[in-house]
């Protein structure tokens, strides 16, 4: 009997040890992201302390708890917000892996959103088919919008950052033209409501009163597909090889131009899906004031926090959506929700310099170790 207990104990200890090791390993991997988040929140806290010291700590708490402040409804809204951010983050991360910087996720998302709304408003189709077609069309629109910078990069070596910034602004203006022309609601000066049939199935039974829909599940599935494409297929291998070294992969006989075009198209299609998911909800409309969707820029921070991995983008997107909801609830204190944008900006900045930062930490760590060692030796010598 005792023997059995001992064996069981051993097994449990072994499992716990392995679990602990796995967690430690994971921590080492995501260390840069944690440092960035920590520094971002720290600087946000300092700014809050400067402006209103009394409310700073409870406000930060509210920010971190995020969507959970609002109970099930808050969680549902967080999930609704998370899906597009995850997908734009995935779009940016996917392009990152191929060595491209897709700053145009906003524009791709806008086109996806418009096409989805267009089909949702102007066509009458039976229930399930309608939203699927609207969703797929949005995806296609995003893909086309991503294809153009890809083609420019592949064929005439145009920097994709510049061309996709231009595409963002073109999308922003086209959006207004199209909305005014096809789906205009003059009373509110915005796009018309989509038909009920075009709405993505809602999760109101789980999250009452919220706008949560199955978008989050679509996002998760797409993330898994992207992970498989990137890490388990020949195509993904080629893409990552191009990302590591364009000349190297060219020398190895890969078609780098095709890789660039494929990567940008897929990236654009992810962003297009984000647009479709965000706006295939009754009551979500696009206004006619010029605006570049902020989700595309959130995508950049999500991709950076997620270390350029699809799975990482999933968790980073959930985190970001959560603190964005937190900023919404934080308004009960005297703070303006823009504090969150500052925190995100700092997070992006720190991830950008994280490599150099880690080098500095390492150097100081070594110096500290050497200093301690020398002190130790001195003591022993005495």
């Amino acid at each position: 009997m005792n023997e059995h207990k001992k064996q069981a104990k051993d097994v449990i200890v072994k499992i716990l040890k392995k679990l602990g090791q796995a967690i430690l390993r994971a921590l080492v991997v995501i260390k840069p992201s944690l440092i960035a988040i920590g520094l971002g929140l720290f600087i946000g806290l300092i700014i809050m302390l400067i402006f209103d010291a009394g409310d700073a700590f409870p406000a930060l708490g509210t920010l971190l708890i995020g969507g959970f402040n609002g109970g099930l409804r808050g969680i549902g809204n967080t999930l609704y917000q998370a899906a597009p951010i995850i997908l734009t983050g995935l779009a940016v991360a996917f392009a990152f892996r191929t060595g491209l910087f897709n700053i145009g996720a906003s524009g791709q998302m806008m086109m996806g959103a418009y096409v989805a709304i267009h089909i949702g408003v102007r066509y009458t189709l039976p229930g399930t088919v309608h939203w699927i077609i609207a969703f797929l069309a949005g995806m296609l629109a995003g893909a086309i919008w991503g294809l153009i910078p890809g083609l420019l990069k592949a064929l005439s070596n145009v920097n994709e950052v510049v061309s996709s910034i231009m595409m963002n602004y073109i999308a922003g203006n086209l959006l207004i033209i199209f909305i005014m022309k096809y789906v205009f609601n003059p009373t509110y000066s915005r796009s018309l409501n989509i038909l009920r049939t075009a709405e993505l199935p809602l999760l109101t039974s789980v999250f009452p009163n919220s706008t949560a829909n199955i978008g989050i599940f679509i996002a998760i599935i797409v993330v898994i597909i992207a992970h498989i494409i990137l890490h388990k297929t020949t195509l993904g291998f080629g893409l990552r090889a191009s990302g590591f070294s364009m000349p190297g992969s060219k020398y190895a006989g890969m078609n780098t131009k095709a890789n660039i075009i494929t990567a940008m198209t897929l990236s654009g299609s992810f962003a297009g899906m984000a647009g479709a998911i965000a706006f295939l909800v009754v009551g979500k409309n696009i206004g006619t004031a010029f605006e570049i969707f902020p989700q595309g820029f959130d995508g950049i921070s999500v991709a950076l926090l997620g270390l350029g991995e699809p799975i990482g983008a999933l968790f980073a997107g959930l985190f970001l959506a959560n603190i964005r909801m937190g900023a919404f609830y934080m308004q009960r204190y005297s703070f303006v929700p823009q504090i969150i944008d500052m925190i995100i900006a700092v997070i992006i900045y720190v991830t950008a310099i994280s490599a150099a930062l880690q080098m500095i930490f390492k150097r100081y760590g070594q110096q500290f170790k050497a200093w301690r060692l020398s002190r130790h030796e001195k003591k022993e010598g005495k």
């Binding site: 910087f101 420019l152 005439s156 061309s163 207004i176 033209i177 900006a345 900045y349």
Partner: protein, 392 residues
Amino acid sequence: MDILYLLIQNAYISMTVLLVVALGGLLAERSGVTNIALEGIMILGAFLGVWAIHGLEIYPYSLMTIVVMIVVVLIWVISLDVLVNFGLSKLGFKCVGLNRLHMKQRENRLYIALNIFIVLVFASLIMLSFFLFGIPKQIILIMGIMIGGAVGGVYAMVHAHASIYMKADQVISATALNLFAPAFAIFTARFIQRGQQIPFSSSFMIPKIPLLGDIPIIGELFFTRVFISFYIALALLVIIWIIVYKSKFGLRLRACGENPHAADSLGINIYKLRFKAVTLSGVFAGMGGVIFVISTSTEFNVTVAGFGFLAIAVLIFGNWRPSGILMAAIFFGFTKTLAASYTAIPFLDNLGLQREYYELIPFIATLIILAFFSKNSQAPKALGQIYDQGKR
């Protein structure tokens, strides 16, 4: 004909902003650092610059504004002093300038003391005249522009530090700056004055310059209904042209953007040079932000309407050359004016296109230029690459 003049005068407004900001972009990109943070720098520069204008208008004699005024006036007088002395010494005069500070002879110390005395006298005379007669409108404007420039320079240093010394991806750190600036402006403004808009009361447009404005055609084109920023922009264009093509700094700058390793092997400190260039580009962008707000609106409302990105388009369109930038700025300025006032032109009004079609033109034109003429583009070779001495 009146419509034409009006259009041209309106086009100057966008042109001025684009010219100033794109010249800043030129400095950064010629040194090999992409600076897509121009938009964010413009917003922050405009925020604090317009705030300074607001303060100078409403509370000209409060402590804060007096400090600001003293600093700005001192900067003016000192820079003027250095310039004058530099010019004199070039002409062979034995001069008293601060640029001889490195000499340690007794005689020179006397000269320097005399020089500082003159500077202080001038500065205090200017300050005194401000107190006695009030600050002229255009002086307030120039002060605001200078403050915007200073803020932009400091803010650009953040980008420069990350992308040059910390070897960060230039696009990413610039994106962070773009995100931070509007958030900071909204947050601070709402906290301090309950509302994100910062109004200013005076209109800074000069209706007509005396004498020059009376010349038949040229007077209408260049000297009526203009902002003083128009002349500042043209002066900056000339200065930048001289700096980039005729000075030692410019030669090094261009070398640094084309082949930093070669430049480094000849003893140029790439890091310092790039840092200077990016900081200067921030100064220009900050100035551009203030100019944009004072010439297009009556309040600062946390936006510069994408002019920072448009300036990058101008830079590309102008093929990274000052003269090209001038042409591109004129073209983009006209398209912007068409978008704003196409209803005044019967021919365009009849087309029945809405404003967004005209807004599209500059971006599509840039894309086309990029697509078809990228083979003969003169983009700096090392643009966007992180400089690492160890790499080859």
